[in-house]
Point group: C2
Chain length 216, copies 2
Amino acid sequence: MEKTELSQILKANFKHLENDLRDEIVQFGKLESIPAGDLLMDMGSPITYVPLIFEGNIKVTREDEEGNEIFLYYLESGDSCALSLICSGRERISRIRAVATEDVVAIMIPIAKMDEWMVKYKTWYYFVLETYQYRLEELLRTIDSIAFKKMDDRIVEYLRKTSETQNSLTLHATHQSIAQELNSSREVISRLLKKLEQKGMIKLGRNQIEIIDLFL
Amino acid sequence: MEKTELSQILKANFKHLENDLRDEIVQFGKLESIPAGDLLMDMGSPITYVPLIFEGNIKVTREDEEGNEIFLYYLESGDSCALSLICSGRERISRIRAVATEDVVAIMIPIAKMDEWMVKYKTWYYFVLETYQYRLEELLRTIDSIAFKKMDDRIVEYLRKTSETQNSLTLHATHQSIAQELNSSREVISRLLKKLEQKGMIKLGRNQIEIIDLFL
DNA sequence: TCGCTTATGTGACTTTGGTTACAAATGATC
DNA sequence: GATCATTTGTAACCAAAGTCACATAAGCGA
């Protein structure tokens, strides 16, 4: 991709950043395409860049020692990854996994530039702080969900979020995969999905869930 | 308290901060004492300062619309409050509650200075970023606990954390209050505490739990 | 000491979610 | 279309946690 084209894209997706900063991003950032399904970040691999997402979605999950997994949130175009900042910052192993759910186009910023720009560009400073703040809030919402809600509500919430970020009313997932994301078991998810179908909220198919109305 | 005394305390508790910065903190910060039991922050009240804690502990909890509550973590001397940064940053209502569990002495930094110092002082910059990172990790650990662990383990973990921050093997709490923090019910907590007692991990008394060995 | 309030103990029961063990359906491939 | 792997459906059962009902017990103040 041409630098000028990159500059255009940047202007469109991160319009709140000042011009000089965007020039530097074009200069020092490395554009990368990540095919759907690829891991951007896995447990414990040290991070040396911070991604700015142009296109596609990224699913962020948490995994514990015993292999239990749980869905945290999606990242979309215009987002950056606060958790990559965590890993980078203290060189520590954070058991976080980030997978591209659609083909992702992102520009990779070297960590060193990160810090440099914080001082140099007010807009970058606010962007990074907002990223942190937004992710903290997102994690709090995740906690709400896990701590206070029952599995059926959590499924509905998961379907809603997934439908929103993928911008589609037809989701492609197996009950097994959903069970994994919600740290439950396949049978439980099948049971509850069936109930949602009976309520007329969704329509089930093999490898597919059609969303009719999640607010019934 | 004298400015010079304040300066000494600051030097002792936040020694990683550079001298000029400490001088500014003394100059612009306001020293406050918060008696045990007082709220530092409640749901939705906008924050105009960031506290640096010298003495005492602060318990941070999350509450949802329906009044369900859950313990997140403790803040101790040397900490700041990343969540106050959230509230301040976007002027948004975050349903977070911070209560002093012991008498707290803290210095309150006006938000404006916060931003100013980020650019001016490298040590402040790293301190704030580390605060964010550390709290994000803490929240992830909270998620692990809620999502992956059963109630008995969660109680043990809660007792351990509380004992550590209060630096005491004798805790003063009712089963009801613990139930609230873990978003459970009194009877369940009583039952499980009794089991822990039978295993010899704790000794129960009225309004009191004596910790014997939580690693049995 | 006598009440009274607050805290704890406990049994019985319900609900939610996890487990086991299959059966049936769907799609892909030959 | 027959075969096969994958996915989904379901029933029966189990375990954890929440609820209800009530019994004690411990501390406090009059």
